[in-house]
Amino acid sequence: MAKVAVFSLASDYGCQVQITNADDKLLEVLGQFDLAYWQLASSGHVPEEYDVAVIEGAVTTDEHVELLKRVRATAGTVIVIGACAVTGGIPALATSGVLEDRFDVVYGEGSALAFGGRISPLPVDAIIDVDYRVPGCPIEPAEFVAVLQRALMAVSDHIPREPMCAACKIEENVCFYESGTVCMGLITRTGCGAKCVSLGRPCTGCRGIAADANLVAARAIAVSHGIAAEKFDSALSLYNSAKGVVR
């Protein structure tokens, strides 16, 4: 039986909470693997061997980099879950400006020195190869269970490629651009069922930029609806600020 270990980097644990929220669905796959390590939900140490690693959170320290390299060397399959791990997510907002200055804002003048080993936030695939991705902030429990199922059966990943607008049409939502409100649905990877827009909020882009998205066209659409290009860029940066690849 495949051994699964769950790891967390810099995150709010919301995606792990969503795993515990998978309740009934999780029971469907529960008999198919052995939960070898999960600090949030169980006592015990990281085992020497495990087959599947589930990783939540953004890479923000040298220690995270080392951990990821060890995980990749051990696990046959790596699944990253949540915006933080997939795109750098909200933690990557700390990428702009000077990182040290941010420590001074939070901890006081000169405090940055105490935080050696801290790096600018990155998604997991900036450090190691990733086999499966579950995007979103937070993840959808059902999507996680489906991806875990694929991983256990060794069927390849099939992360959605298209932007979200089609889902919005299906939900019969009125496009936010009609009222001059910036919405990231134009370029954001589909798969959430346009949840935010259906509840009256513009898409913030938590599922990351879709492979088939046309950023240039989206930006032009925003401008043609009277939205300053800077406003579009600022909205885009919320979940997509991470830059640079270290490996």
Partner: protein, 420 residues
């Protein structure tokens, strides 16, 4: 001197390491290192628009995200002088209290209970105590579905916006949930009964206790901050004058004191300070479980979480029924963007949560401050460990460590929150 170390303490949110020096049965230095990486949220909201503050800061915590969102919304509204409708306040209360159901059930059954039944995690309970396992899932699920009904999903609410709600639950949903909340009454009462059977060490914290307090209500959304021992109550807006935060070497989370003393926030301080505002049913089960306010036994925090489950289930049912009769609107009120500074506090499941924001004329944030419950509790938690460890140091090493971990889990610490 040998040092016992528990790296990455299990069944808590976030990474923390406990180290205890022991020699010849005597406890020396004892510490909890908070090694969770800081995410620098207070710097990240600077330069973002006011309406993004609740969205960003709710990502401080995936467990109590509704509390962060609601507290941040209140801070932004205080800064810009926005008055929301009574219906909006009711829905926010429902969101916060719904999060208690989910949160306390998760902590009590999944994180804390395995200690008391001698298991590494909750899963063996499915076989040994199926009724307990299914009760745990039922309460947690109801809490999740309740926050989903109001906020759009269990983690990181969508519909709660500056000035009001962008979507509302249907009358049918409110009706259904009122009935389901009444129906869960037995499960939550059983939870109190179960936790009252666990062996609770005799122990008294030396710290102060702080919580929101409101004359008319069990305070979670509004009220003043009151101190149990010192006997004072002060407006939330003065929080920086009474909560002293300082940076400590071994922790990425700051430590807090009040009037030079460590203090505790959370279920036990709330129940102590608002005992007579609990619903009658909650007071009755608490009394049956042998709990008497005022108690300063830290371990009773778990029992008080269970008592709050009873209170929250009843209160949420009443809120659903009141919302059904109420004809007001929760649609976002009209407002003008203006400069200002705003502060707000709510009671998150783990204790008082403060948010403050400074907004410029253009609606862009120039400063922000967040003090989370766990950041307030950490100094008291360490003080408790120092006082408690010598009383159990005679036990075999494994049992000794388990007891110290049990004390930590009584606090239900949220370390990712504490190093936001």
């Amino acid at each position: 001197m040998s040092t016992l170390t528990v790296e990455h303490v299990a069944r808590i949110e976030g990474h923390g390491t406990i180290s205890v020096e022991v020699e010849g049965g005597v406890v020396g230095e004892i510490r909890m290192d908070i090694i969770e990486p800081t995410r620098l949220f207070e710097s990240m909201i600077v330069g973002r628009r006011f309406d993004e503050a609740p969205l960003i800061t709710s990502r401080i915590c995936g467990i109590c995200s509704p509390n962060h969102a609601v507290t941040s919304l209140k801070a932004v509204e205080a800064a810009m002088g926005i008055e929301v409708s009574e219906r909006t306040k009711m829905l926010r209360r429902l969101l916060v209290h719904g999060s208690y159901l989910q949160n306390h059930a998760t902590h009590l059954y999944i994180l804390a209970a395995p200690d008391y039944v001698g298991q590494p995690n909750v899963l063996p309970l499915a076989e040994t105590h199926p009724e307990v396992f299914h009760r745990a899932l039922a309460i947690k699920k109801l809490g999740n579905e309740l926050t989903t009904m109001v906020g759009g999903r269990p983690v990181h609410p969508i519909a709660a916006a500056v000035g009001g709600f962008t979507a509302e639950p249907s009358a049918h949903d409110l009706e259904t949930f009122a009935a389901r909340l009444h129906a869960v009454a037995n499960d939550v009462v059983e939870t109190v009964a179960l936790f009252s059977t666990f062996d609770i060490p005799t122990f008294q914290t030396q710290g102060e206790m702080l919580a929101l307090h409101d004359d008319g209500d069990y305070a979670i959304y509004d009220g003043e901050i009151c101190a149990l021992d010192a006997g004072w109550c002060r407006p939330v807006s003065e929080y920086r004058q009474f909560v002293d935060e300082s940076v400590v070497g071994h922790s990425n989370a700051k430590h807090s004191t009040v009037g030079g003393r460590t203090f505790m926030v959370g279920s036990l301080p709330r129940v102590n300070l608002s005992w007579d505002r609990l619903t009658p049913a909650a007071r009755i089960v608490a009394s049956k479980a042998g709990f008497r306010a005022v108690s300063k036994n830290t371990f009773y925090n778990n029992l008080c979480q269970a008592i709050e489950l009873v209170d929250a289930a009843e209160r949420c049912a009443i809120l659903c029924e009141t919302l059904l009769e109420d004809t007001g609107s929760s649609a976002p009120v009209k407002y003008t963007i203006r400069a200002g500074e705003g502060t707000a506090a709510t009671e998150a499941p783990r204790g008082t949560l403060y948010h403050s924001v400074t907004i410029g004329e253009d609606g862009v944030l120039t400063a922000g401050d967040v003090i989370t419950p766990t950041a307030q509790n950490l100094a008291n938690l360490e003080a408790d460990m120092r006082a408690f460890a010598p009383t159990v140091v005679h036990l075999p090493e494994e049992e000794f460590i388990l007891r110290v971990e049990q004390l930590v889990r009584a606090y239900d610490p949220c370390l990712s929150c504490s190093v936001h």
